[in-house]
């Protein structure tokens, strides 16, 4: 009695949902499927649409210009997660089996969804690629074979930030006695760097103070008044969404120089700066991808995709920070597929095969030039032990209208991050009863 309606409802929906999914036909055989767990609604829509817009545009470019990766066309399907973990998991499960060989990889674009899906990815042998977000210790490939924080993690970028501050102060030894404040989003994402900052504070002798901002961070007066009392030399901002412009405005009110504020890459998009208006001028943000259209690959996209009205985003958002980040994601993802194809043949590959490709990425400067992404992507070489590969970030400064790059690639302090990551990964492995792979045997 109780559940019969629910059952029939479920059945009915199942029929409709089932009918909506075309069965993979023979004609699709030369296609590689990419899931797009986008968020077009909710508080973070700007990030979701920008990032995946760039990603899809890059795939469209490869399809249009090159006829796919070595003749294997890329297909993709969107699934709205609304930045909700539960819906993210549903999207993962919905999309993981699509296409002739299943999902190539999964880009959660949310630290929470990364946490909820990476174990499923390991079980299903589908790589979860958390480019610049997710677990800090995920770079330890022996414990996380299917998790790829390519390019850089929060931990790495944080050490780059301290290096940048050191450079600005005129040497790392000058950090001694300086006061740095870490204003962070009070969530898993925000807390990720507390430990590493404390460690660095002890190493370099600067003073660190952490201020959590309660989600969503609409009003931060109390925090910024305290910061005013402390009068720090630098403020590190780990914000997300509406918290960013609010923090910048509050900084302006207490008269704290925005040129002494360093944002993480989720605090460094046009969408974060514009609402803050003139107050944002001078704000500096770290990023593993510089914005702008001045890259061959972006020009190619405009020509091959947007000029033909096949863009996956409004044309005026091409070249923004989020967009370029999506393009970088596309470059790395497809490069992994290409490398895997060299080993497994020029055909649609399974997640397991692409995992090999992701683990053997080798973006040399020459290759980056060939891809038309000079200056957009940093050289990256991954391995079984190292799933991060690059680790460098560039800093850019907001001039009131757009971002201006103010530094070259600044390398992370891998000597510090790596042991911490390994320690944390081993703790995880122990908790979960995982025996780490022996990477020396997998070359």
């Amino acid at each position: 009695m109780k559940k019969s309606v629910f059952a029939s409802l479920a059945l009915g929906v199942g029929l409709i949902a089932g009918a909506s999914v075309p069965a993979p036909a023979v004609a699709q055989a030369m296609e590689q499927f990419m899931p797009i767990p986008i968020y077009r609604t909710g508080p973070y829509a700007a990030g979701g649409t920008g990032y995946f817009g760039g990603f899809m545009d890059y795939m469209a470019l490869i399809n249009e210009r090159d006829g796919g990766v070595n003749g294997v066309k890329l297909t993709w399907e969107e699934c709205e997660t609304a930045y909700d973990n539960a819906r993210g998991v549903e999207c993962y499960e919905r999309l993981k089996g699509k296409g002739p060989t299943g999902a190539a990889m999964f880009h959660p674009l949310s630290t929470g969804i990364t946490y909820s899906t990476f174990e499923k990815g390991a079980a299903d042998k589908i790589p979860v690629v958390s480019l610049g977000y997710g677990r800090g210790d995920a770079m330890v490939g022996s414990v996380f074979p299917y998790l790829f924080p390519l390019v850089t993690t929060y931990w790495s970028q944080n050490t780059s930030k301290i290096k940048f501050i050191g450079m600005k102060e005129g040497g790392m030894d000058k950090l001694k006695g300086k006061k740095i404040v870490n204003v962070y989003h009070d969530s898993a994402y925000g807390k990720e760097t507390i430990d590493i900052l404390n460690k660095q504070a002890a190493t370099y002798g600067f003073e660190i103070k952490h201020f959590p901002v309660a989600h969503p961070g609409l009003d931060q007066k109390a925090i910024w008044l305290q910061i005013k009392q402390i009068a720090p030399d630098w403020v590190i901002l780990r914000g997300w969404g509406v918290m960013n412009p609010t923090a910048i405005k509050e900084a302006a009110r207490i008269g704290f120089s925005r040129e002494k504020m360093l944002g993480v890459w989720w605090s460094g998009s046009e969408e974060d700066m514009r609402p803050a208006g003139t107050a944002a001028k001078g704000f500096i943000a770290a990023g593993f991808n510089p914005p702008g259209k001045d890259f061959q690959v972006i020009k190619d996209i405009e020509k091959a995709v947007h000029a033909k009205k096949k863009g996956n985003i409004e044309s005026d958002r091409v070249g923004t920070v989020y967009y370029n980040r999506g393009v970088v994601t596309g470059i790395l993802s497809l490069e992994a597929i290409r490398i895997a194809q060299e080993k497994f043949g020029k055909k649609p590959l399974t997640g397991e095969q692409i995992q090999w490709g992701l683990e053997h990425l080798n973006l040399t400067p020459a290759r980056i030039k060939a891809l038309g992404a000079e200056g957009l992507v940093q050289p990256i070489k991954t391995s079984c032990t190292d799933h991060e590969g690059g680790g460098a970030v560039k800093f850019s400064q907001w001039d009131g209208n757009q971002w201006k790059i103010v530094s070259d690639w600044i390398e992370a302090d891998k000597g510090l991050v790596r042991p911490l990551a390994e320690e944390s990964a081993m703790k995880y492995a122990k908790e979960k009863g995982i025996t780490p792979r022996d990477c020396s045997k997998e070359m």
């Binding site: 077009r40 609604t41 909710g42 508080p43 829509a45 700007a46 649409t49 009070d186 103070k209 952490h210 201020f211 959590p212 901002v213 309660a214 989600h215 969503p216 609409l218 009003d219 007066k221 109390a222 925090i223 008044l225 305290q226 009392q229 969404g241 509406v242 412009p245 609010t246 405005k249 302006a252 009110r253 207490i254 008269g255 969408e271 974060d272 514009r274 609402p275 803050a276 208006g277 107050a279």
Partner: protein
């Protein structure tokens, strides 16, 4: 000591910003007994519409008028489509309808005007007012003072409207009992449309002020969460309560955040999400109807 006053003033002025949102809730509750969950979405919708109209090239004041007109139309529409069929349903059904409404408005607003984050500049500097800084030695933002002024004008207007006009009297009658009000010949539909239009006006003002501070984006709808403790502290039915409640909540939440986190060495921080609720809760234990709320008399 200066620091204390700075936090206090900052808090009071933040409180005014919360009150602005709370006012919208009070209006509708007072006039129809509905806890309007969609008030936050109305704030978002109003701000989105305003910015959207500006982007079409319409100058500021005509855009404001146009936007007001849209909010009025919306109010009439809500009355027609949502409220009229639900006359005389229990309050919880009406509450739920407003939940549906809030989804609808979010989708509609963002569907029409896009999900992009937009800046909104009212031309008032959100920087410390120099005159006050010289005179009192504390930093108070010009923008906050402006918001306080807006709130004062709104409250004054609403108080007059409720207490001195026939419509105001009708509103209060309707809130008390839909059926009885209908029986004595009060046109329920008009009254509801008017009050929702007024709530739309309040939402527009709140949307402009909050929007110029946060940027016009989805998170604007979350300002409602800041208004709820104000609402229960001040009482659902009192315009004055919304203001006084806002002041109390704003000031105490800032003072608590600063001083509790200092005393505990940062261990107890980021309490702004729950502290105002706890405070309001404790207060309610003493006065269950809120500061200025009408005493609930129960008959068996």
């Amino acid at each position: 000591m200066n620091f204390f006053f700075e936090v206090l003033f900052g808090g009071l002025l933040s409180g005014i910003m919360y009150s602005l949102v709370a006012l919208g809730f009070v209006l509708i509750y007072k006039a129809s007994g509905v806890f309007n969950f969609a008030q936050g979405s109305m704030v978002l919708f109003a701000a989105l519409t305003f910015v959207g109209i500006l982007e079409l090239g319409v100058p500021f004041w005509p855009a404001l008028l146009l936007c007001l007109l849209v909010m009025m139309l919306l109010a009439v529409g809500i009355e027609r489509i949502v409220l009229r069929p639900l006359v005389n349903q229990p309050p919880i059904a009406l509450f739920m309808a407003t939940i549906g409404l809030s989804y609808l408005l979010e989708g509609l607003g963002q569907g029409i005007w896009g999900t992009q984050v937009r800046a909104l500049d009212l031309g008032i500097e959100d920087l410390p007012n120099e005159m006050i800084q010289e005179a009192l030695g504390i930093q108070v933002s010009t923008f906050d003072l402006f918001s306080a002024g807006c709130a004062a004008v709104l409250v004054g207007g609403l108080a007059l409207f409720f207490n001195k006009t026939r419509v105001g009297l009708a509103l209060r009658a309707v809130a008390d009992d839909h059926q009885a009000a209908l029986a004595v010949g009060i046109p329920l539909q008009h009254v509801w449309a008017i009050v929702w239009a007024a709530a739309g006006l309040v939402a527009l003002v709140a949307g402009l002020l909050w929007g110029s501070r946060l940027g016009v984006q989805f998170s604007l709808s979350l300002v409602a969460l800041k208004a709820l403790p104000v609402l229960i502290l001040g009482g659902f039915t009192s315009v004055a309560g919304a203001i006084v409640g806002g002041l109390i909540i704003g000031a105490s939440e800032k003072l608590a955040e600063v001083y509790i986190s200092t005393f505990t060495g940062g261990a107890v921080a980021a309490i702004e999400n729950w502290f105002p609720y706890m405070l309001a809760l404790l207060f309610l234990l003493v006065r269950p109807q809120g500061l200025f709320g009408e005493k609930i008399i129960e008959r068996v």
